[in-house]
Each structure stands twice: as C-alpha cells, then as structure tokens.
C-alpha cells in the first residue's frame, strides 16, 4: 500500500491549521451557518432547519434590536468622549506633578485591575436606592430626603452605567495620553513659546496634534471594548428596568441563552459585529491620518 504523501509545507503547517480550525474557523462557520437556521438550544435538531435570511430580516425589523443598537452607540459616544476628556485632564495634571509621579501613575491603573463583574457589583451597591453609598451620602448631607432610584429609573440607570464605565476605563485614556505627553519633543513646544503662544495656544496648536495618534489608539481599543459591553450592565441592571438599559450584547445573550433562540442571536451578533468593525476602522483611519499629519508615515 502506498502511503499518502502530503507536501512538506502542508505537514509543517498542519498543527497550526488544525488548532486554528478548532478554535476559530469551526465556531465561526458554525455560528454563521446557524444564523440561517431556526436553531434553538432546547431542540438541537432544529439546527438543520434552514430558514434563509429570516433571522436577519427579523432582526432588522425588530424595534428592540434597534433600540439596543442605538443605546450601544449612545453609550459608546458618551463614554468614549467623557473618558477622553477626563483622561486628558488627568494625564496633563499627572505630567505636571514633579514629585510622586510614579505613585500616581500606578494609582491611575487601579480601576483597570478589577474585573468588570466586580466593578458592576460595586456600583450596583453604590447606586442601590436603599443601602447605596450615593443615596446615603446625599441624605446625610441633607441634599435630598427621598431615595433616588438610580438603577430603577431608565435614564438614571443609563447614567449610572456610564458612570461605572467611565470610572473603570478613563485610565486607559489617561495612561495612553500620558505616554503621548512624554513622547512630545520639547523643542516645538519651546518654539511655540518663542513664536508667541500662550499656554493654551501651545496646547491647541502643538501638544494636541502630537497627542491625537494616542487618543485615536485609545479610542480604537475602547470602542471595541464598549461595543461588546456586557458584564457591567448585566450585573448592574440586567438590561432593565423594562429593557431601558438593554445593550446589543445583553440582548443577544438573553436571546441566545435565556430564550434559547441561538439562530436568531447569532444573526443579531453578526449584524452587531459591523458596529465594532465600523468604529475600529474609523478610528484607525483617523489614527493613520493624524500620524501622517505629524510626518510619521504609516
């Protein structure tokens, strides 16, 4: 019997191919395929029930899906901008500190060291209307005597979530912008002083253009993060009250695992991924452009 003779390159690549197929390719293909079926976790044989684009049509016409989509975009926009501004402020202040800067830099990282689940629980407690820190503080200070329903009122709940999100992740911006500040050459800043700039003008015309690449990198990283936001929201409000804080992935998670409609969940997932891809591509484009502005090439 003749032994099957594979070309050498294929043999060498085979382990990589097998591993990649197992962990990436097969799940990807399977989930894509199942999004065209009426696959339900409770009825495994439904995975062979081909329904064509039905799931996608359903998602696109589903108001709940678009509400979650819009809310995710809102969270993304508000949180990212807030984090950018706060991070910029913190980075500038830290960079001006002459003593204990290392300690401050380390402290800046603290929020990033906690699991988002824990942060979620923490803020769930902080914003709790009966025993929460915020309400207790407000009541003790006599600012209010009612229990403000932070996590129960729709708008306030969204605010609380954004607050928690900003608290955890401002330091991503802070650290990256600080790195940017350290990387700015001293000469152009001095030239700007001689050219007549006030501190504010120096910042606007010299510092900021140098920081933009760092800001866009942070934006790209964080937009991916927020677009897949799940844990903090799941813990703090579970998408409630009455779906008023439902984001894309809490909706998808609920649809897939609670309602067991995996085919539909996968279809929504594939649509949602475009959101993340869109923001990432957008910020990387901006990044490349801002680097070109600085004459840094690609």
């Amino acid at each position: 019997m003749k032994r099957l003779k594979l070309p050498q390159w294929l043999v060498l690549l085979l382990p990589a191919i097998i591993i990649l197929s197992a962990v990436v390719l097969i799940p990807l293909v399977l989930s894509l395929y199942s999004s065209f079926t009426s696959y339900r976790l409770t009825r495994p044989d439904s995975i062979f029930n081909w329904v064509g684009l039905f799931n996608y049509e359903k998602a696109i016409t589903d108001a709940k899906f678009w509400a979650a989509f819009g809310r995710t975009v809102l969270l993304l926009t508000v949180a990212l901008n807030l984090e950018m501004l706060l991070g910029l402020g913190i980075a500038i202040m830290v960079s001006k500190v002459t003593r204990g800067q290392r300690l401050l830099r380390t402290m800046m990282m603290f929020p990033m060291m906690f699991s988002p689940i824990l942060v979620g629980f923490q803020f769930k407690f902080i914003f709790n209307d009966n025993v929460g820190l915020v309400n207790n503080a407000l009541q003790s200070l006599g600012i209010t005597d009612t229990a403000i329903p932070w996590l129960v009122d729709g708008n306030l709940a969204m605010f609380s979530i954004i607050f928690a999100e900003v608290w955890t992740s401002t330091s991503v911006f802070g650290i990256l912008i600080l790195a940017g500040l350290y990387a700015i050459p001293r000469d152009p800043l001095e030239a700007a002083k001689v050219d007549g700039c006030t501190a504010l003008q120096s910042f606007r015309y010299v510092t900021l253009p140098f920081l933009m690449p760092f800001i866009y990198i942070a934006m790209a990283i964080r937009s991916l993060d927020v677009a897949r936001a799940y844990d903090i929201v799941q813990i703090m409000t579970n998408g409630g009250p009455a779906r008023r804080t439902e984001l894309l992935w809490t909706l998808i998670g609920r649809t897939g695992y609670v309602d067991a409609r995996m085919g539909y969940a996968n279809a929504m997932g594939y649509i949602s991924i475009f959101l993340a891809i869109f923001f990432t591509v957008y910020f990387f484009k901006k990044l490349t452009k801002s680097r070109q502005e600085l004459g840094m090439g690609m």
Partner: protein, 361 residues
C-alpha cells in the same frame, strides 16, 4: 533699538550653579557669538535671554527693558534651535506664518511676510511640503525663515549649523552673515565651533565653566588671548604652549633651551611661565615668512607631517613638548629630519604658569 545687557546673571539648578554672575553688553545690530566647550553654559545663557529658562539672579535687559519676568512671547525675540524645532504637522508655509497667525495678523500680511522670507531663503518651491519631506539644510532654512518672519529685535541662534555636513555648514555660514547684513538686527549666536565664531562674529564671547573668559573682536581674541584657555581654544591648530622658567631675563625650558622674552611682556626672575606660539609663527628657515624684528631660532626633529597643499603642518618636539609648526612652499620632509625653525617673537605670548593669565604689559 535692541541692545541686550546681562547684569550679574546667575543660573542655578537646585544647589548647582552653572552660570556665575556674568556681565555682557551687546550693542544694537551687533553679531555676538558665544563660544566655549561643551557644558560651559552657552545654551543656558541664551535660553535665559529667550525666556525659556528662569533667571536665578541678576537682570537681563532687552531694548532697555528688564525682561526677567516676561514670557518669551513678550520679549520680541526669535530663536533658531539646534534641532530646528519645526512643527511637524504644519507645512513650511504654516511653519513660517505661525507666529503671525498667533499674533492675529491678516492673511494678506501673513502671505506677504511668508513669501518674502521664502524668497530670501530660496524656500518658495518648498512652501507646501511638510518638514518631514525636507533635507537637513532645508529644515534649517525653514527654521531661520520662521525667525525672520517675526521681524524681531533680537535673533537667538543655538548651534543652528551643528547638524549639517561640513560643506553645507560653510554655505549656511555665509547665508547667515549676509542675512545679518541685510536685516541689521542684533544677533546672539551660540556655537562650540571656533571657526564659526571667528567668521561670523562682530565680537566673540568665550565662556568656560559658566564664566566669561574674554570678550573681543575675532582679531583681538586671536592676537591677544587673555589666558591659556582662550589661547588654545581660538585658532586652528591650537596655540603651542611650553612650560618654562624665567632665568637671567630669558625663558629657559626643561631641557635647557633658552628663548628671549617676547617684546611687550613682563616677567619676574625665577617665575614659572607658559610660552605660547602659534604654528603660523614657528616655521623652518627657508620655508618661512620674511624675517621680522624679533626673531629666535631653535632646532627640532620632525615627527610627523600633514601636507595641506599650500603648506605643510610639521609636528616636532621642543623641550619635551610636542609643537606644531607650519612650512610654507613645502618640500617633502622625512620623519626624524632635523630642521632649524625661526620663531617670530613679536607674535608669541607669555602666560603665568600657575594662573594661566597673560603677562602682557
């Protein structure tokens, strides 16, 4: 009018004093060059004039006004930095016009000033490029253009040519000199290159370790160095220095060689002195300038030659010290050849061996 005066100006970094109470008066329109070895405080001094470095003591006056507490933008100065310090995200045009833009001049004014400066420095074809797309020499010109556009009372240059190759440096040196003649502004120029200092300056300020050693025109500091430091720092090759003792009204070196005291210098019997002679003033007999009034002759063995074409540098040993001499109308000289050299005593120098200060009467 923009004279610049430094009055007992001190710079301290913490407890470390790097500029020690220096005094300097610069006239309107004068081209002054600060020169000295690395780390002597030239940049620090210049940056104190610019307002980029706080002044720890004394006063800096520009145009009769004490500017100690004024930020750079209120001092009416321009500065050209060693690394050009261009704004990388702006085109050449924007770089040039930036200061006027900040000062809220009209676009027409800005365009006019930018085009004029670009014209002077032949930057017109480059106006729409970014600094990243320019050569070192072109960036240097943009940096100068940016300074010109401001039309300041005082220009400050911090080693603007040190990143250029030798040829370009010579070329830019001429450009800067022309520019000064054209604009007539006061210029303070820092360099550690004594040739740049000699060729550019109306007056040279020689610094060492945060002190000013000597101030004078290029010829003054070349011909009458106030101490051995200036003597060896200015001029190329550096002045030969030989240690000796005054004996019987003559200078005696370690090996017993004697030379007369150069005219115009005082000595005390038995004093330890340093005798200074430049290569131009010690030449082999027959290959020298016509004999002057005060001459002396010594014999030396040639160790090494450096033919330069019109002349040859000879390295020989006199009284145990290596001496550089110059040979005009050179002929081939072989190693170990013994030659008689004539020394032009009128052009020689005497310094106190201990302090290094000149013994000039």
């Amino acid at each position: 009018m923009a004279q610049v005066h430094l009055r007992n100006v001190v710079k301290k970094y913490g407890p470390l004093e790097v500029v020690h109470a220096i005094n300097l008066d610069i006239a309107d329109g004068e081209f002054v060059v600060l020169v000295g070895p690395s780390g002597c405080g030239k940049s620090t001094t210049l940056r104190m004039v610019a307002g980029l470095e706080a002044i720890s003591g004394g006063d800096v006056q520009i145009g009769g006004r004490v500017v100690n507490d004024l930020p750079p933008r209120d001092r009416n100065i321009s500065m050209v930095f060693q690394n050009y310090a261009l704004y990388p995200h702006m085109t050449v045009r924007e770089n040039l016009g930036f200061s006027l833009h900040i000062a809220k001049h009209s676009q027409a004014d800005i365009d006019k000033a930018v085009n004029e400066a670009a014209d002077i420095l032949s930057l017109t074809p480059l106006l729409d490029r970014k600094p990243g797309a320019l050569s070192g020499g072109q960036r240097q010109r943009v940096a100068m253009g940016r300074a010109i556009v401001r039309d300041p009372e005082v220009f400050l240059f911090d080693e603007p040519l040190s990143n250029l190759d030798a040829k370009l440096r010579t070329q830019m040196r001429v450009e800067i000199k022309k520019l000064h003649q054209k604009l007539g502004s006061t210029i303070i120029y820092v360099t550690h290159d004594q040739i740049e200092a000699m060729t550019l300056a109306d007056r040279i300020v020689i610094m060492r370790d945060g002190h000013i050693e000597q101030v004078g025109t290029p010829l003054e500091v070349f011909e009458n160095p106030i101490n051995t430091f200036v003597a060896t720092f200015i001029g190329s090759p550096p002045m030969n220095l030989l240690d000796g003792v005054v004996k019987d009204g003559q200078i005696e070196f370690a090996d017993g060689t004697r030379l007369p005291v150069p005219p115009g210098y005082f000595t005390d019997e038995g004093q330890a002195i340093t005798f200074g002679v430049r290569a131009d003033n010690i030449m082999p007999v027959g290959h020298a300038l016509p004999r002057g009034e005060h001459m002396a002759e010594v014999e030396m063995t040639v160790d090494l030659t450096e033919p330069l074409g019109t002349e040859t540098l000879l390295f020989a040993v006199l009284a145990g010290t290596e001496v550089q001499a110059k040979m005009l109308n050179p002929r081939p000289v072989h190693r170990g050849e013994r030659m008689t050299f004539q020394i032009m005593l009128d052009k020689c120098h005497l310094f106190d061996a201990e302090t290094g200060d000149t013994q000039k009467k």
